[in-house]
């Protein structure tokens, strides 16, 4: 039995779905940030999978490499925001801050 590219893509899309569901349904900032991480990882899988089937260069993997770097930066800033928000409203619930409404 051989693992074709389809399986990897399927796996990646499942993971992405789970991450999206997490981001949309959970009302806890931290969980949302983590589900973003899951989504980013699923993208990495897809990139690496495609690169595997074009192995003449490392574009896919280099891109995945950069995605990881940016994910790190994004997590850092996200958590900083969560902390300052937490300091203001003593909770990490996402629905509380709605000052920017119409």
């Amino acid at each position: 039995m051989d693992v074709g590219i389809g399986e990897y893509l399927a796996l990646a899309s499942i993971l992405f779905g789970i991450g999206a569901m997490g981001f949309l349904t959970r009302r806890n900032f931290l969980i949302q940030l983590m589900s973003i991480e899951v989504m980013l990882n699923s993208v990495n899988v897809m990139l690496v999978a495609f690169n595997r089937y074009q192995p003449s260069n490392h574009d896919g993997q280099v891109f995945a490499f950069f995605v990881i770097a940016i994910a790190a930066a994004e997590a850092a800033v996200g958590l900083a925001i969560v902390i300052s928000l937490f300091r203001l409203q003593k909770s990490v619930e996402t629905d509380l801050p709605s000052a920017l409404k119409h």
């Binding site: 981001f23 949309l24 996402t94 629905d95 709605s98 920017l100 119409h102």
Partner: protein, 935 residues
């Protein structure tokens, strides 16, 4: 016309003197000048103008050299004011022109003569005004004289209108001279607006005359007058409903009623008594109010053309006379009585005009100017004597004949004149009017002649005669009632009343600005008792009285009746002099003119006149010669005779038939309400409709979009994901498109739209078998042959823009004619009827795929007319249907199939015309057609 040199220069001076005087006095009143200078300028200017007027009048007399009725006009043109184009008459210029003929000559003499005397009188009457006020008064008086002279000397309607409104303005200023009292200011405003309503009539009348005769000049209008009878505004119908004459004269008469205070618009005159007495004398007796009659006399030829207007004038005139007389009888104040007497006398004059006796009417104007001015000045001198500045209540007077000697005899003489005592001026002028009325009532009919041809029917004559008779008796009665109550009787009824003012030796006539005790907040001057010992007025006031008194007597002899019972002929200077410029009814309707063999009207007129005088004076003597006034009746404004009328009738008459209240209720209140309504509507409805609604609308739409900003991160995330999904759907399926790159004859190169990872497969002739495999090349060229044609198309070149394209089929099909422009039909062949041409041409495609056209009604060129009646064209040939070029081309279809990275494929097909690259625009529903056409 004899334009003698110095006379026309003099004509200008007549007007310039008072005008310059007015301007000088105006500056004086503002910049301060000593009183004597003001006196000199005020009277000097009018007197100088009087002398010049005499000079011109004499010049006129000389020009007539003996024949009094001869044509003689002095005229002077200054500059062209503006010009007007009248359809049918071209461009007529309206220029500032003055002219004096016999009518305006006399009128100028009246204005400057009597005006001058009144100026003299006013010098001392207004003595106690402060310097500025004194000068201001005489500025207005001079300005008034100037405007009146402009009105009289104008040679065309527009310049006359300048004077007409100028006089209105001056009466506004003069009535409101004591502007610190709101009542007087309101009276002034009322006068101005009532005149303005009249002026509306004059304007419309002017325009009608302009439309009918093409000019404003009096001379030209009178010349064209006979023609006005049958011309008129035809609102659609042929025969004019109203002739020009009727419309013009009707509106002009409306103007005259405004200015000369006749029935509908007379309400302003009684209130105008608010002005100082010289003003009432000058304006409301001698000059301004007579301008209405002057206008009618000036345009007498036009008035003679319209029966309806003459009849209305006659009726309104006599009714006004009667109504005013009834009101005058019950009044208790001298100036009020004189005011209503003026309205009544004007009614007499208009009645005269109405029955065609223009010269008689104007003669009454002349005599009335003398005795009415004398009466007003007499009343003024009485008021001066008793120290009252508002009015003299006759119930509080009595026995003045001993103390005011000259005022008494001049007042008596004028009363006799107005009452119509024989040999006094009033008798002659009134007799002439009655004669005019009688000669209409008893037309001198030759046998067989019926009355309907005449201008006026006898019943008008009788109506005027009787009403005037009653009015005349009443005139005599109320004049002598006033005379006896004021001057006769033994004791001076307010001898005791005024004593507390004695210590100021009786001069209490400083205007009320410091005794405000009960002038109800400045609305009107304070009422206070009369001086105990009245004394005669200074000589400056009595001298004009004497002159006018003498005038009131002798002036009547100018217009002696030309025929006396018993066939005696008397020299009628007035009639001859006026015949030069006033038309008389006798010329056009001899039946309405009394002559030797038709003496009856003269007898009737004479008897009515004498009878009226006798009854009136007798009754007044009987009732009031040495009557005593009892206090409580006086309190109710009644004396023992008028009390007999009974309270309701008396108050009805005393309150001027409640006409003012009726006007307020019927006209002013509704218009004011309408104004208030429109102001509110403007603020609320119109404003809201345009501004508020749009504002609300904009804000509403804005509100809808703000709902999107919920502030919840989730929501934004969700919208974000939604967008991403939609975008991805776009990439899921390929979106093919096809363009014609180039076309040489049948070989066509097409190009498909590119996309990410697209692969293309062409099937150029859409027969189901693609020519090649899926490849990345997106262009393909192909040579089409006859059997690839999927259909045919016809290009119709329209007049502009790109050509119209219609599909062609094997079956016959009519061309829509409005595509073919305007001129597509061919000439009518012989033997054909008209309808054949309306059959539009028919086109279809033959088996050998050629275009076939059956012309039917159309003119078709450029093809070969076959035997079976239709022309054939090869693809690309140009045919011409009418002026429109027509071309016929085959249509082919190419398809392309595109596959994208996901492996989904889409097919796309495009039809185009093999004629050099234009895309098939017509909806070619050819999918169903190929089988039928192609193979």
């Amino acid at each position: 016309m004899l334009d003698s040199f110095p006379a026309d220069r003099a004509l200008l001076l007549i007007v310039l003197f008072p005008l310059v005087g007015a301007i000088a006095l105006g500056l004086a009143s503002r910049l301060g000048a000593n009183r004597s200078a003001v006196r000199f300028v005020a009277v000097g200017s009018v007197f100088a103008s009087f002398v010049t007027a005499l000079f011109c009048f004499a010049k006129l007399y000389v020009m007539k050299d003996g024949d009094l009725g001869g044509e003689a006009v002095i005229s002077r043109q200054l500059w062209e004011w503006f010009h007007v184009t009248v359809p049918g008459f071209g461009q007529t210029s309206v220029d500032v022109r003055f002219s004096m003929d016999s009518l305006s000559g006399l009128m100028t003499l009246v204005v400057t003569g009597i005006g001058g005397l009144i100026h003299l009188y006013a010098l001392s009457y207004m003595e106690e005004e402060d310097d500025a006020g004194y000068a201001r008064f005489f500025t207005y008086l001079n300005l008034f004289t100037a405007s009146m002279l402009i009105l009289v000397l104008a040679s065309n309607l527009v310049v006359m209108f300048v004077g007409w409104e100028g006089v209105g303005l001056c009466s506004y200023l003069l009535i409101g001279y004591k502007y610190q009292y709101t009542k007087y200011a309101k009276a002034g405003k009322k006068a101005f607006i009532a005149n303005r309503v009249g002026d509306l009539g004059v304007i419309i009348g002017m325009f009608t005359l302009l439309a009918a005769t093409g000019s404003f000049e009096f001379a030209e209008i009178n010349a064209a007058a006979p023609g006005l009878k049958n011309m008129g505004f035809t609102f659609g119908g042929e025969t004019p409903f109203f002739s020009f004459a009727t419309i013009a004269c009707g509106f002009l008469f409306l103007g005259c009623t405004g200015k000369s205070a006749q029935i509908p618009l007379y309400v302003w005159l009684p209130d105008a008594m608010a002005g100082p007495t010289p003003v009432s004398a000058l304006i409301h007796a001698a000059t301004m109010v007579t301008s209405g009659i002057y206008l009618c006399c000036r345009l007498s030829p036009v008035f003679l053309q319209s029966t309806t207007v003459m009849a209305t004038i006659a009726i309104i005139g006599s009714v006004t006379a009667l109504v005013a007389a009834t009101i005058a009888v019950v009044q208790k104040e001298m100036k009020k009585i004189l005011a209503y007497s003026t309205v009544s006398q004007l009614g007499f004059m208009f009645a005269a005009v109405g029955v065609g006796a223009f010269t008689a009417g104007f003669f009454h104007v002349f005599t009335h100017a003398f005795f009415k001015a004398c009466l007003f000045l007499g009343a003024g001198s009485v008021m001066h004597a008793i120290g009252s500045h508002t009015d003299a209540n006759i119930f509080k007077l009595g026995g003045l004949r001993h103390k005011l000697k000259t005022t008494h005899w001049t007042f008596l003489v004028s009363c006799l004149a107005i009452a119509g005592t024989p040999f006094f001026s009033g008798f002659f002028s009134k007799d002439e009017i009655l004669l005019g009325a009688a000669s209409v009532a008893l037309p001198h009919l030759t046998e067989g002649q019926t009355t309907e041809g005449l201008l006026l029917q006898p019943w008008t004559g009788w109506f005027v005669l009787i009403t005037l008779f009653v009015a005349a008796t009443m005139t005599a009665f109320y004049m002598f009632r006033m005379y006896f109550l004021a001057f006769w009787g033994e004791e001076y009824r307010s001898a005791h009343g005024g004593d507390h003012h004695d210590q100021e030796h009786g001069h209490t006539h400083n205007d009320g600005h410091h005794d405000d005790h009960h002038d109800n907040g400045g609305y009107e001057p304070a009422e206070h008792a009369y001086a105990a010992k009245p004394h005669e007025s200074p000589v400056l006031m009595t001298f004009p009285l004497q002159v006018l008194g003498v005038g009131a007597v002798i002036v009547g002899f100018l217009g002696l009746p030309h025929l006396l019972p018993g066939g005696i002929h008397l020299p009628n200077l007035w009639g001859e002099w006026m015949s030069a410029s006033i038309a008389s009814i006798g010329d056009s309707f001899p039946a309405l003119h009394a002559s030797e063999e038709h003496m009856s009207p003269i007898y009737v007129a004479m008897t009515f006149g004498l009878l009226a005088w006798a009854i009136g004076v007798g009754a007044a003597y009987q009732a009031y010669a040495n009557a005593t006034i009892d206090e409580d009746l006086a309190a109710k404004n009644m004396d023992h005779i008028t009390a007999k009328l009974g309270a309701p009738v008396h108050t009805f008459l005393f309150d001027k038939w409640r006409v003012d209240e009726a006007y307020d209720f019927a006209i002013l209140k509704p218009i004011r309400g309408l104004a208030q309504l429109s102001a509110n509507i403007d603020q609320s409805f119109v404003d809201t409709l345009l501004t508020r609604f749009t504002a609300w609308g904009a804000r509403g739409v804005g509100w809808v979009f703000t709902r999107l900003q919920t502030g919840v991160v989730h929501f934004y995330g969700f919208v974000f994901i939604l967008g991403a999904a939609a975008l991805s759907w776009w990439f899921l399926y390929p979106h093919p498109s096809l363009e014609v790159r180039s076309q040489e004859g049948a070989r066509v190169t097409v190009e498909a739209g590119t996309g990410l990872g697209y692969e293309y497969q062409f099937d150029m002739d859409s027969d189901g078998q693609p020519e090649g495999e899926f490849g990345s090349a997106n262009t393909q060229s192909f040579a089409y042959d006859a059997d690839d044609h999927v259909g045919f198309v016809m290009n119709i070149g329209t007049l502009r823009g790109d050509p119209e394209q219609i599909p062609l089929f094997r079956s016959e099909q009519q061309i829509d004619t409005d595509l073919l422009g305007v001129s597509w039909q061919r000439e009518l062949a012989e033997g054909e009827d008209e309808s054949a041409l309306n059959v539009p041409p028919v086109v279809w495609v033959t088996q050998e795929s050629k275009l076939a056209i059956r012309p039917n009604g159309a003119l078709v060129r450029g093809g070969q007319l076959g035997d079976d009646g239709y022309m054939t064209f090869a693809p690309g040939d140009v045919a011409r249907i009418g002026r429109v070029p027509v071309q016929f081309h085959p249509v082919v279809r190419a398809t392309v199939e595109v596959r994208n990275a996901f492996g989904h494929t889409r097919k796309y097909s495009e039809e185009f015309v093999l004629d050099g690259g234009s895309r098939a625009t017509a909806r070619l529903q050819l999918t169903g057609a190929p089988q039928e056409v192609a193979r």
